[in-house]
Symmetry: none
Subunit: 217 residues, 2 copies
């Protein structure tokens, strides 16, 4: 994506910033002023370089006709490649602890990642699924499904509590198995109204604590 010089990078950054703030791109003279230049030519050179390197697209001869074609450009063009996933709350992967609580806000993720309808996000608490590499603090992306495949991970409501388990069908019985020997499997009998599968886990997102993270759910 890059092969830009420091100066070109700054011009591109200015273009993005201006577009974000004003809703339309700047004129060449505005860019000139912003960088303290005394001639249009300098700006023209930068724009030509940015266009040659694919960072922007221009309509020759037309005012303010600068389109940013990078990642931010697609964003501005609103190709809408990001999908909003409602954050439902926390889910216990050990003992069922907390039910699905009302989370505030939603999470934007690339629609190509899990692109389905009716998906939502839950935070995992507990370590009953650590054997399957799902650990406490992970966010699981859940798809509301009517049926489940054996072996897949599901979010189930057991006695009103949400929990992540592996879905295994054994004859007429359905067993929700943890992936940690310290926990016991849960048998889902046919007449058991106290337990129901909410959906299938289609993805996991883990964040490692670092400097200045901000997502608070």
């Amino acid at each position: 994506m890059n092969g830009l010089t420091e100066r070109q990078r700054r011009v591109l950054e200015f273009l993005r910033d201006y577009l974000r703030r004003h809703g339309y791109p700047p004129t060449i003279r505005e860019i000139r002023t912003a960088f303290g230049l005394r001639s249009n030519r300098g700006v023209v050179d930068h724009l030509r370089a940015l266009e040659r390197k694919g960072s922007i697209r221009r309509l020759p001869g037309s005012s303010r006709a600068i389109a940013i074609s990078g990642p931010d450009g697609e964003n501005a063009e609103g190709a809408g490649r990001a999908k909003a996933y409602p954050v439902a709350g926390r889910v216990a992967a050990g003992r069922p602890e907390e039910a699905l609580e009302d989370g505030n806000g939603s999470l934007l993720l690339d629609e190509r990642l899990f692109g389905g309808k009716g998906d939502f996000v839950l935070e995992v608490k507990g370590d009953s699924m650590s054997g399957a590499h799902i650990v406490s603090g992970d966010l699981v992306v859940v798809r509301k499904t009517a049926s489940c495949e054996t072996g897949s991970f599901v979010v189930a409501l057991v006695d009103g509590e949400a929990t992540v388990k592996r879905y295994v069908r054994r004859g007429s019985r359905v067993v929700l198995e943890p992936a940690n020997p310290a926990y016991a499997p849960i048998v889902l009998s046919a007449g058991n109204a106290a337990a129901s599968v909410v959906g299938t886990v289609v993805g996991v997102i883990r964040r490692y604590p670092g400097r200045g993270r901000a997502f608070s759910r």
Copy 2:
């Protein structure tokens, strides 16, 4: 927000559509043509009405200086809660297999998740980090960092090959440890130019195979 006539509503819709498609607003003459008008005045009247009713903002006398101030306007103004992460390619978590190859495209993720600068995404191949719950096929979000904390996961270039390991400082030595006893640690000596740390792993994204996934990298 509304109080717009049918005609004004359509003009506003056209403005939104044009901005989304081109990345910059249209000229008055472009609007005129789009609506099959034969005079600028009609367009000017509509724009004045839209501005009076608060749907758009304009900079008088300046080309294409139309900013949409409704809900879509905020979108165009780039409240931009999704951030684009370049996809660099694959990274070996077992033996170094493939170098960072040029991946096509980028991945949109909520900026609150990993919100940093210069981050990128790699797909993990191999199982040397399975003890740390990072498995083959996972996408790791990498932040280019100058320094690393002991115990954190890093992406390192060893002999031109990218690999995920745990970063451990032991006195003057730096050791890149796998999280799988089947693999051997890599010692990073001070004069070893063949090995360098690219960045810190700040996140992991896992996709479980399901019906009709589309992200192909």
